[in-house]
């Protein structure tokens, strides 16, 4: 078991920092190139959502692993999501003017084993991403 917490200002330039942080954190598990790419992309989507939609000052990222299962919590204390079911639908976006594709959750679901969303209006959002790495020979 290992765990780190990262608290960053909710800024677009910190999205790449979040990707670097998660890549560094899981490197001791010797993941495959594809697994790193999947996890980096999912984290990028989750943190982007928090930065664009959350509207809070900070985004927190709790990273942990137990054996080869990685758990990533991305949390903000911002506006929350009114209808989680709708927000998870492919192509759903509230930011069409920003050229958002509405594919964030779809990508997270495709690249991770499990995606859990906890949110309520005014109470922030926590997205929990889980993926178990394959055993390396």
């Amino acid at each position: 078991m290992n765990k780190i917490c990262v608290k960053m200002e909710s800024l677009p330039e910190n999205i790449s920092f979040a990707r670097v942080a998660v890549t560094a954190f899981i490197s001791s598990l010797d993941p495959s190139v594809d697994e790193v790419s999947d996890i980096k992309t999912a984290v990028s989507e989750g943190v982007t959502n928090a930065v664009i939609h959350g509207g809070a000052d900070y985004v927190s990222m709790n990273l942990s692993y137990l054996d080869r299962t990685i758990i990533i919590e991305i949390a903000d204390t911002g506006v929350g999501i009114e209808d989680i079911e709708a927000a998870r639908q492919p192509l759903f976006t509230t930011k069409e003017d920003m050229e958002r594709s509405g594919l964030g959750f779809t990508v997270m679901e495709s690249f991770m084993d499990d995606v859990k969303v906890e949110s309520a209006p005014g109470e922030g959002t926590t997205v929990t991403l889980t993926k178990t790495l394959k055993n390396r020979e």
Partner: protein
């Protein structure tokens, strides 16, 4: 963030050299749009051979440039995509609307062979 832009006949060739996420996508679109508006090009070729990472912000950026090319009766071509990006291209449905070629030369040839 690096971005090389070149006019090749009726096509604007954009070669970004960075990771594409929400942060860089906004700057890429501003620079590509400014160059496209100034030019009389109809087509846009996005050469992704130097892109090491892209998330769904890149998909939004691609769709936006596709619409701009379409407004001028042109098309958007993507070249040099790696395997990861290929997966995003398929998941997003981009594969249905945007032509993907291996190289810039292939995209230019496809433009030359258009019948309109």
């Amino acid at each position: 963030m690096g971005l090389k832009i070149e006019i090749m006949g009726t096509a604007l060739l954009a070669q970004p050299d960075c990771e594409i996420d929400h942060h860089s996508a906004e700057r890429l679109r501003a620079q590509i749009d400014a160059a496209f508006e100034k030019s009389s090009c109809r087509h846009i070729i996005l050469d992704f051979s130097k892109i090491s990472f892209m998330d769904s912000s890149g998909i939004g950026m691609v769709i936006g440039r596709y619409k701009n090319a379409e407004k001028r009766g042109g098309r958007l071509y993507i070249t040099g995509m790696n395997g990861d990006m290929g997966r995003l291209y398929n998941i997003s449905g981009l594969a249905k609307i945007i032509t993907r070629t291996d190289t810039v030369e292939d995209a230019l040839e496809a433009i030359t062979n258009r019948r309109d």
